[in-house]
Symmetry: C7
Subunit: 100 residues, 7 copies
């Protein structure tokens, strides 16, 4: 089965749990080479962050479990890349509109 | 017959079928080297995703069958590249307007 | 006579003729190394696509004949490049306006 | 006298004269290595195109004569580069305004 | 435990404490290779700056202590990267909207 | 004294004096390796052009004299670079505003 | 103490003092390898310019003294980089908003 090379996840995390902890714990998982946690939006109690996890063989279930163990909630899976490299982004033309 | 090097497909998928499954199954097909699945829009039941599939010889029929086997629907074929490399994007000038 | 290195064509094609067919057939022409077909707009019967055809010696007449054989119509020739390389795009300054 | 390395010309051409002819004829001129012709705007009879001509020693008079021989009209000279390379584009700051 | 490779912090600092001091002191910390301090907004007493701190093993607690020792306040942790490299930025598609 | 490596000048020139002449004459000056002349705006009599002059040791006075000899007027000096290389452009953050 | 590698300064300068002089004098300072002076805004008497000064060991006090000696005023310190390289720019997400 093709391994996961890159995951981009939209996650809600408690303000009191440090962003550094998310980046560290996820980077320590087997098959993960690097993790970036970027703040998108913040509220009094909750922060919306984007997690980018890259590696030779990222284990989705372990990533999800790790997020939950830190009190986070997986809001959506924004991108998954499998295989040997990250395909180039597709720049949608003038929004391939539907004239139905 | 020239082989397909890159496919960009606009697909509707059931929310309950994991994005990871689409990326993995497509990457396991012969002739596919890498697959990216990117979320565009999501609803209670359905998600609109962009699939980018790249490889030396991508088999369109197999890709389509794989999508359907996972409960997805091919909404449109946004880009097809055949041959030895991916030609550079054309940046349309001030929208080559038609003054007819 | 200088050979054509790159063609960008605005084409209307019947929905029922597969985009893949256009990319494959054009890539099989002599002198063509790679072809990209990108969806711009779609209607119930017709799709507006951008064809980018690149090679050492692209034969314009054969490309046009191939498009017509697939039921397509050449809407406009958006870009033609001849010679040894593709010159850098010109970024028009604050739209070189005419204050006549 | 320093040679011209790059010319960007704004040209009006009759619709019935093929864009391919402009690209080919200009590329065949001595001192020209590559030519790109890009459609900007089109009307029933006339097309506004941008010509980018690059080479070791582009001859301006010959380029102009070639355009006219094909029924085109030189509308403006948008860019001329002389010397050993193409200097980097200047990104004007918040439009160096004049508060006079 | 995976080391921190890059930190991006949103910080409020007193106007009278030089930006140069923040950049210098942070760069002198063990595990830090380079620091950029960029002005975002300024008021009569307070400046809002973005701190980018990169190195093989950035120590978050020391960075925070250094900021406070200079009279600054950590406003938010905008980005944390752990592991072997900085993963590529995720370009969110047409704002992965939620049509609930 | 450090030499000038790059000059960007905002110049007004008579329409009847060819843009090519400006690019050629400036490129022929000692210490100049390349010149780009780009049209910004044009009127019935006058054209506003941006001159980018690069070289190992650009002589400002000679450049200015050359412009005047061709009937041009130096409107503003938009950029001057001295030293060993061209420093990277500074991308101002959300316009470092002043909340005074 | 970590050396300054890059300074970006917002400076007001008298119109009659040449921009070239600022670029030259700053480039002649010890520890400075290159300087760019870019016009942002101009008034009858005063010009607002951005100074980018790069080198192995830029001396902030000398830079400030040099600016003042030429009749300039340091308006703000927009960026300071210390250490071994210039960290990559942080692209703030959808403006990490605060929903307090």
């Amino acid at each position: 089965m093709a391994s996961i090379r890159r995951l981009v996840l939209d996650v809600l995390k408690p303000v009191e749990v440090a962003t550094v902890s998310f980046a560290r714990e996820l980077s320590d998982l087997d098959g993960v080479d690097a993790t970036a946690v970027r703040l998108v939006e913040t509220d009094r109690e909750v922060q919306n962050v984007t997690l980018v996890v890259e590696g030779e063989a990222v284990d989705f279930e372990r990533v999800e479990a790790c997020i939950e163990s830190l009190g986070g909630t997986l809001h959506s899976v924004d991108e998954v890349v499998c295989g040997e490299f990250v395909p180039e982004e597709h720049v949608a033309h003038a929004d391939a509109t539907w004239l139905r």
